[in-house]
Amino acid sequence: MFTKKKRQDSAAKRGRRHPLANVALIAIGLIATGGAYAGISSATAQTESTVVSQASVEDGEKLFQANCATCHGFNLEGSDEAPSLIGVGAAAVDFQVGTGRMPMQAHNVQAPEKPVQFTDDQISSLAEYVASVAPGPAIPEEQYLDADGDAANGAELFRINCAMCHNVAGAGGALTEGKYAPSLMGVSEAHIYEAMITAPQNMPVFNDMNLSPEDKRDIITALKFMENEVSVGGHPLSSLGPVAEGLFIWIFGLGSIIAVTVWITAKSN
């Protein structure tokens, strides 16, 4: 059901090949990703082409050369350090830069979130530049980001498709080798949508055949509901479930009761 991305793998192996192979590979990659993507969701590919403005593409190119090219290459072709960005689309850039993951600072198992380094305008210039080089998933349309869909359906889809990595309450969870699926609380609507279509790092792609745009809207609705919901039962203890509850009862529950027992028995002396 999930289509795992091969892009990064091929990028990682490329260091060992003949230099000309790079060009060939890029060409093949371009055609394959571009073609396949157009086949899968022509709708998103179309919307993207409408908003490209020449000025901001140039701004974006400058920003890219200054901040990203050392790793991703001057022509987006990637390097030993980082994968190629050909065909990742505006959505991937908006997600990666907009959540502060890019530019990446240190090599780690996973690019962590950090404070965002660019203004919204700069981010959209970068996104337009990357999208102008090769088509890819576009920034999602507003109509799917209003968080006003069917929360019940969204929560069910979330339990089935996302909870095994992100935890039912969206609190996040561990993957192998130090990788992790982050908490989804406080992530913007657009970034949630973009994560589903661009599949950052170890996350699988949820294209429109898996989850229709309406389904994605429902999932966003459910996540936003969880986030904004007043916790009816009291403090949620980070929504970590039984481990947090167990620690709490041992430390604070039993702890306070022991304090009382000491007090009761000390009074008599």
Partner: protein
């Protein structure tokens, strides 16, 4: 100390004079002769020490569980028939779920006070098992399980197991994703048992997992069978406590023949009554301010979704952790059957561990050859080998327990999951030995220090220059009471290997004497009277 010894008569309750209460008491007494029992019970003396109240915490949280649980039974429906939820929690409106889940949601959102009671019930359950655990540790480390209380240790431990069973069956009732995941693991464990596993699983679930029977069956266990057995064992436990009288720590005036403390009536009963309300209050406060098991976040169970970070309640954690700690690939096919040692190994190891804890009093009694009654508790340091064994056991348990949260440890401390698991595997195997060794050395060192202080008094920090130019530190002598606490313990000698009546030395005797040597070989004798007199020279 303002305490009364057992020999002093306590205030008698059933006064047979005057007023309505008097008459009523008289009426009752003439028909039941209950005053004898009340007098007998009321005269029991209960010594004062905070650690003696842990069992009471367990008892009181159990009472809270019974009260809140009864309330919940009025509204909970243990049925797995499917309905479309139609309560007031919007994000689940129209979602298909079992009646069990829907009625739990109703308790949480549509029944006045329901959520508070539900949360009190769950928090009290966690506190119940936690306080039993701590109570058990107290009893273990002070040697309170020794003759004549071995059987009560066994009963107490059975109570602990029953409490866990109660907890687990309760955890599975709401039929949400978390509890379903838990049941799925249990199902997997059962199916891992060779030959009979699959049959047992089908029997339990009434067919293929999850079926439509399990919630109803667990409910019967949870509210009928297990509580009945639990109450029975609890009553036995308490009767034994009264029959045996309470243990006490060594101290002036305290011997193996008396108990120093307050009589139960009226002082102690009043205190305990107050304490009940405090425990109740703490649970109610926690339940009002802190969420527990928000099933509406988890959603209804169906076998497809599994959540990251799925854990059982803390007291089942050690079993979950044991499963996580098994290295991969411990599974092979033999005789046309799959032998899942990645499930069987933890089962066997946990089984052995439980049995060892259960029968520990008998093991220790056999090794030490100690057949006397003990009513004075050991200070943990004065039984170094037992304390070290206890520390090793706690470490072993803790490694399994921590492993149940390996994923959360990994994400919260930015570690790799594999690293955490390997570290805990090492802790599981090596930890107990390290803990044993360190604890034993620490106990012996503490004993040495006690002996030193008993003989020479405290270092006062006052340096005095003698006329000859020599500097000495003045040692303050202890008062009698303090010294008594330090020297009044017994030092045991290993069982000596002797031929039996037929003049033979059996292998059993050999084993026993070897174990006994191991148990007692390192020991520090308490300062004797003679040593005290000669050593007591003021510095």
């Amino acid at each position: 100390m303002s305490t009364a010894t057992a020999s002093q008569a306590s205030a008698s309750t059933a006064k047979k004079s005057g007023g309505f209460t008097g008459k009523a008491a008289n009426y009752l007494d003439e028909r039941t002769s209950i005053s004898g029992a009340v007098k007998e019970f009321g005269r029991k003396v209960f010594p004062d020490h905070w650690s003696f109240l842990l069992g009471e915490v367990a008892l009181f949280s159990f009472v809270v569980i019974l009260l809140t649980g009864s309330f919940l039974t009025f509204f909970f429906q243990a049925s797995m028939a499917e309905v479309h939820y139609d309560g007031s929690y919007v994000p689940l409106k129209g979602v298909e779920m079992s009646i069990a889940m829907a009625s739990t949601l109703d308790i949480s959102f549509d029944i006045r006070g329901g959520l508070l009671v539900r949360q009190m019930h769950h928090w009290a359950a966690l506190l119940f098992v936690a306080s039993i655990g701590l109570h058990m540790l107290r009893v273990f480390f002070t040697g309170a399980f020794r003759k004549p209380r071995e059987l009560n240790w066994v009963i107490g431990f059975v109570l602990f197991i029953l409490a866990m069973a109660e907890g687990f069956t309760g955890y599975s009732l709401p039929d949400d994703v978390l509890s379903g995941n838990g049941l799925r693991i249990i199902d997997g464990i059962i199916k891992g048992i060779p030959l009979v596993g699959t049959w047992i699983s089908f029997l339990l679930f009434g067919g293929e997992f999850p079926g439509t029977a399990i919630v109803g069956r667990l409910y019967t266990l949870h509210i009928l069978l297990l509580p009945a057995i639990l109450v029975l064992f609890l009553a036995l436990h308490l009767v034994f406590v009264i029959v045996h009288k309470h243990t006490q720590y060594a101290g002036p005036g305290r011997t193996e023949k008396n108990v120093v403390g307050f009589p139960i009536l009226p002082v102690y009963a009043a205190k305990a009554g107050g304490f009940f309300f405090i425990v109740f209050g703490v649970i109610a406060l926690i339940a009002s301010f802190f969420t527990i098991n928000p099933i509406w976040n988890y959603g209804p169970y169906d076998p497809s979704p599994v959540s990251a970070g799925t854990q059982p309640d803390w007291y089942i954690g050690f079993a979950d952790g044991a499963l996580r700690l098994v290295p991969p690939h411990w599974e092979f096919v033999l005789f046309d059957r799959t032998w899942s040692f990645n499930i069987l190994a933890p089962l066997i190891i946990i089984g052995i561990f439980i049995v060892l804890v259960l029968i520990y009093p008998f093991i220790e009694a056999w090794i030490t050859g100690d057949k006397r009654e003990h009513h004075i508790l050991d200070r943990p340091r004065n039984a170094p080998t037992r304390t070290a064994i206890g520390a090793a056991g706690v470490t072993f348990y803790a490694a399994m327990w921590a492993a149940a949260s390996s994923d959360l440890i990994a994400t919260h401390f930015h570690l790799t999951m594999e690293g955490v698991i390997h570290a805990l595997q090492a802790m599981l195997i090596l930890g107990p030995f390290v803990a044993y060794f360190i604890t034993k050395r620490v106990c012996l060192a503490l004993q040495k220090k006690d002996r030193e202080i008993a003989l020479h008094g405290f270092e006062s920090g006052r340096i005095v220059r003698l006329p000859g130019g020599e500097f000495i530190e003045v040692h303050e002598p202890l008062d009698e009471y303090e010294r008594w606490r330090l020297v009044s313990f017994e030092s045991h000698a290993p069982v000596i290997l002797r031929p039996n009546a037929e003049g033979k030395i059996t292998n059993k005797a050999r084993l026993r004497s070897a174990l006994s040597r191991w148990f007692f070989e390192d020991r520090i004798a308490p300062a004797t009277k003679k040593e005290l007199e000669s050593g007591h020279d003021g510095h």
